[in-house]
Symmetry: C2
Subunit: 249 residues, 2 copies
DNA sequence: TGTTGACATCTGTATATACAAGTTTTATGA
DNA sequence: TCATAAAACTTGTATATACAGATGTCAACA
């Protein structure tokens, strides 16, 4: 991986200790001063580590008191955010399986081509995710080419992100996601074994590299009875809108 | 508000300039060095401001080049996170209306009382959100008492967060959210004017203060045909799980 | 007993400095 | 002209210092 700096290593170390209850929920971490001594670093470095844990929801910083370990881990680990199915599988200990239904080089449908130039080539990838043997999610990915020049079948079956990051050195940076509830196309309905009205939860995402170039367009169709999205959010007080005033007549 | 420090004021100022296209999408912000001169501060302060904008998805920092303004604003403003309906209404310019259906002091149902002591009193609040005159969301809130001692009808109709933060000085800090799709109770189905199978998107949230005390338990029932959740997420590389190994026999 | 006030401890904010590392521009030289 | 190297910029990381502000402890005192 690419965590070769102090603040990330310290954050990672403390995160693992929180997970293993070496730092127990409802207790305080050692003070920043003590952590400085423990890790042999300056206070600013420790503070940047703690800020990462704060943002992830592992701790709550309280002025004048310390950093309190929260106990929400079981519900709200990195489900939100950009996490591959493989990583989720490992983290949550699910009994999941991925079946690759299709992998071919095509063009991105113009309906999906958001701000793309015409005739954008891509790898189209369709994968069915099974949990405990039951179909749960159908993923349809377009991996744009460029930048993705090759896509081995093995990577599709295993983990695309591991392949892109570790094999090709891609820097996956951010994504936008949109969750809606829609009526599934017949093909999807069939593969997910849906009955009734055929409603699915549709998660559309656009994923970008560190240079802000788009490289992945995904539509994930989830069985509504098995869909669960958990999120941790901090209240932000930076707003981009000024107070609305009624226009003067 | 409580933004009385430099880094937040600078972040806010730059965010507004991005919104008004003074800093246009696909262009770079002034360098950190120039921003130091512009605002008369040190580089670390500027960097903390930029880090906030980076986290919100307004900019992308690129090493060696600068801070690129992203153009995802229209889709992914602060819908994720902790934002009151009133704030969303203002930000997105929706034609929305809130009708208070119920406001009374009761006990929290034991089914919802997660880790609470017995017989926790609370204000129960039921509100229907209408968009363009059509029922869209039914919110059911329990505001725990303590800490919420009084809850004026006016605050329920206007904005609870504004009341708690500005009037009472509460520090709302973080929330956990869980999104599922479920069959709505008859009472909810009726109020939302639902047909068919009566499926709704259910958003359950637990909201906490800065001292980590729980103060709000919410269930939001959304009409599935009008539900849309958008999110911006950065790839985090801090993981709390070590690589799984097959157990040795 | 109960309150006040001084003190120690903790996090929050801001500044200054130094060097590493990636990118772009400029200058150099064949 | 073209390729290479140097320089000038950019962000990334780490350190040290200073003071503000919140919290808890404990002794002094009424």
């Amino acid at each position: 991986m690419g965590l070769i700096n102090k603040q990330n290593m310290i954050a990672q170390d403390i995160a693992i200790k929180i997970k293993h209850k070496i730092y127990a929920p409802q207790t305080f971490l050692p003070s920043e001063h003590k952590l400085c001594e423990l890790y042999g670093t300056s206070r600013e470095t420790i503070r940047k580590s703690l800020e990462q844990l704060n943002e992830l929801g592992l701790i709550q910083k309280i002025k004048g008191r310390g950093s309190l370990v929260l106990n929400l881990q079981r519900f709200t680990f990195p489900i939100s955010g950009i996490t591959s199915f493989k990583e989720l599988n490992q983290t949550l200990g699910m009994h999941a399986k991925t079946v690759v239904l299709q992998l071919e080089k095509t063009m991105v449908p113009t309906s999906l081509a958001v701000g793309l130039s015409n005739e954008q080539p891509a790898f189209f990838l369709e994968r069915l995710r099974l949990i405990d043997g039951e179909p749960d999610v159908l993923d349809r990915d377009y991996l744009l080419s460029p930048p993705v020049e090759k896509l081995p079948y093995q990577a599709a079956e295993d983990s695309i992100y591991a392949y892109l990051e570790e094999e090709l050195g891609f820097k996956i940076s951010y994504a936008t996601k949109e969750i809606t509830v829609e009526s599934a196309p017949a093909a999807v309905r069939e593969k997910l074994n849906l009955s009734g009205e055929g409603l699915v939860v549709l998660v559309r995402s656009l994923t970008y590299l560190a240079d802000t170039s788009l490289f992945q367009i995904t539509a994930s169709y989830h069985r509504p009875d098995k869909f669960k999205f958990t999120d941790f959010a901090r209240r932000k007080r930076i707003l981009t809108h000024t107070k609305e005033r009624k226009p003067q007549l």
